[in-house]
């Protein structure tokens, strides 16, 4: 809050409803008569299509720092709206619709400490030269974008060079049907320290997108039916992702070129297709991937060039490949994970392995536990020979679950020739940990 926030007038009128109404009337009358912004008084403004201030443009022009602008229900077709007043709150009442008329970005925040709440921001239209968005935040700090509905925009909310912003409880739905005519639902570019929480994003190119935005927290969002990734982040160190659901995204979730990431308690579901991954990690250094659920993905988790990750207590269920661990992923540690009903548990592209598996539960494990300590007495090799063959020759997939393949796998298990001898779980659990 700025020093001259809305606490000043509130002190005078004790915040009563009567006082507020009176003040609004004065401000409205003043505007109507003078047609120019009033100075000093207009801490509370009401925009109403049938009232004295019928346009948001006029209200924004009149607003003083710290002002509270209420927008009543209605459809507002106005030119590009830019908030340049610090500390301003723009709040919708009864879901007013701000319509970009397929021609321009709907609303821009270009001042610090601005709050936008309860608006419907719609129809930005598609342009090839500018990244049109329902809501754009430009070089502004500490904004709060809360409880809005964004419909049929190229980009949903677009934050550029805006630190410490909060994007919360918004409902974002795209209209575009192709990657090229659709932008990202929540887009952050050079915006460190962001909090993205409780949003629902549907049908955008990437549901949530972080680029050069370190230190962000993404929590409790649902991102589904994205045309590309449900979550896509690059060059964003020390970010945390907690309790999100990523579902039915064309290519799943991709996390690239970052260090120190924490991904916990998320659900990665139903990413189907040739290049679809529940969670793709590429060139990640250090991090935790824990207590997530990977269910019904072509590939649950792909580790490529990702080092020193702790992959712990995740559930891998009914995936094509539960985990693909490439040879260039080093010092990754899989512990306490659950592998159930996957076509292949672990695949790799090399005979050597630089990652360790210990104390996981594998439904394919056929060993025994003579001393009843809960861990199997025979090590488990999760990489099947056939998984290796399919990795190199995809067409052989037609032989999945053929008796011949079963025999080859059994033979390979007894006498490993081609599968990595080092990639074994020495302490496989006898019972699922959860």
């Amino acid at each position: 809050m700025t020093p001259f926030g809305r606490s000043q007038p509130r002190a005078g009128h004790a915040g009563t409803a009567a006082g507020r109404r009176w003040r609004v009337t004065v401000a409205g009358l003043g505007l109507a008569i003078a047609g120019v912004p009033l100075s000093g008084v207009a801490a509370q403004l009401v925009v109403d299509p049938r009232g004295p201030v019928p346009t948001i443009t006029a209200a924004l022009a009149a607003a003083q720092p710290g002002a509270h602008v209420t927008v009543r229900a209605g459809t507002y077709r106005e030119p590009l709206l830019v908030i340049t007043t610090p500390g301003l709150t723009l709040e919708g009442e009864g879901w007013p619709v701000l319509d970009g008329q397929e021609a321009h970005t709907v609303l821009v925040i270009a001042a610090d400490d601005v709050t936008v709440r309860g608006l419907v921001l719609a129809h930005s239209g598609v342009a090839n030269l500018d990244d049109r968005a329902g809501l754009k935040v430009r070089d502004a700090r500490r904004c709060l974008v809360e409880g809005n509905r964004l419909r049929d925009n190229l980009f949903g909310t677009y934050l550029q060079r805006s630190a410490d912003c909060r994007v919360r409880d918004n409902d974002i739905e795209a209209h575009g049907t192709r990657q090229t005519t659709s932008g990202n639902g929540i887009h952050l570019w050079y915006s460190p320290g962001a909090l993205v929480e409780g949003n629902r994003v549907r049908g955008h190119r990437d549901g949530i997108y972080f680029e050069f935005s370190p230190g962000g927290v993404t929590r409790g969002n649902v991102s589904e039916r994205s045309q590309r990734y449900g979550l896509h982040f690059m060059f964003s160190d020390s970010c945390r992702y907690e309790g999100n659901t990523f579902r039915d995204n064309t290519s799943g979730v991709a996390v690239m070129y970052s260090r120190g990431i924490t991904i916990t308690g998320n659900r990665f579901e139903r990413s189907w297709g040739a290049a679809a991954y529940g969670l793709l990690l590429k060139d990640i250094l250090g991090g935790t991937i824990a207590r997530n659920t990977f269910e019904r993905n072509s590939t649950g988790l792909l580790l490529e060039g990702s080092n020193r990750l702790a992959v712990a207590d995740n559930d891998f269920r009914q995936n094509g490949w539960a985990a693909k661990v490439m040879a260039n992923a080093e010092d990754d540690r899989f512990t306490g994970n659950l592998f159930v009903a996957n076509a292949f548990d672990v695949a790799t592209n090399s005979r050597s392995s630089n990652s360790t598996f210990d104390g996981n539960y594998w439904d394919a494990y056929r060993g025994f536990d003579l001393d009843h300590d809960g861990t199997g007495d025979v090590p488990f090799a999760p990489v099947r020979l056939f998984a290796l063959v399919v990795e190199q020759h995809p067409a052989t997939l037609v032989l999945l679950r053929s008796p011949l393949v079963g025999m080859l796998d059994a033979a390979e298990r007894v006498l490993p020739v081609l599968t990595p001898r080092v990639l074994i779980d020495r302490h496989p659990r006898m019972r699922p940990p959860r």
Binding site: W272, G273, G320, Q392, H393, P394, V398, R401, P403, L404
Partner: protein
Amino acid sequence: MNVVALVLDAGWRDLARNRWLAAYAITFFVVAEGLFWFGGTGPQVVLSVLNIVLLVVPLVSLVFGTLHVYASREFIELLLAQPVPRGRLFAGLYLGLALPLVGAFLLGAGLPFALNVRAGASPAALAALMTAGSALTCAGAGAAMWFALRTDDRLAGVGAALGAWLLATVVYDGVVLAAATSLGDWPIERPVLGLMLANPVDLARMLVLTQLDVSALMGYTGALFERTFGSAIGTTVAVIALGAWCAGPALLALRRFRRRDF
């Protein structure tokens, strides 16, 4: 009474008394029920039973069928002495062999799923499994009759049946595997799918797998399978191909039966 029904009835009675047939049904029942007993979910049990179906059903129908035809030799010669059309006689013999086998399979494998409805096997996957098992039985029975009618040497007949079983379940897949790995640089997805149509065991496997959501997960090739075998058209094609595999060996055997000088 109709000749076909008469011969079928005789064959049915003969097989119903056969302890091997009962053991066949009980094996399926015990395996499937046991898997449910040990906490298997519907899809898992379907997959495990599928593994047995792919190996055991062709083996039993081929070997058992061949032996059955040899054992019925005197019965066949007796009937041939009567004024009976050979086609009808063959139909009775074939159905008398195939129907009890199919019945034993459906009863043995189907009953556990009926008893464990709550384990959640999808009806489509179950239907595919039952169709696959029945079709494999019919194809095996037809081929068995053909092998048995080709030669009077029992050893040669059973040997041929065993050879056919080995070819269909293991060797064929080995050849496909070798071909697919050595021609990996070529766009061979579609030809390989075509190869699957040419083997009833592979066909049965694909029919069930596409109903289990496993293959659709498997990347590009899997998507292609799903589209090819999992779609309505693909499933129809697979079922028709399986039907052809039922009819083909039986017709070959019928031709042999018509021309043969007993």
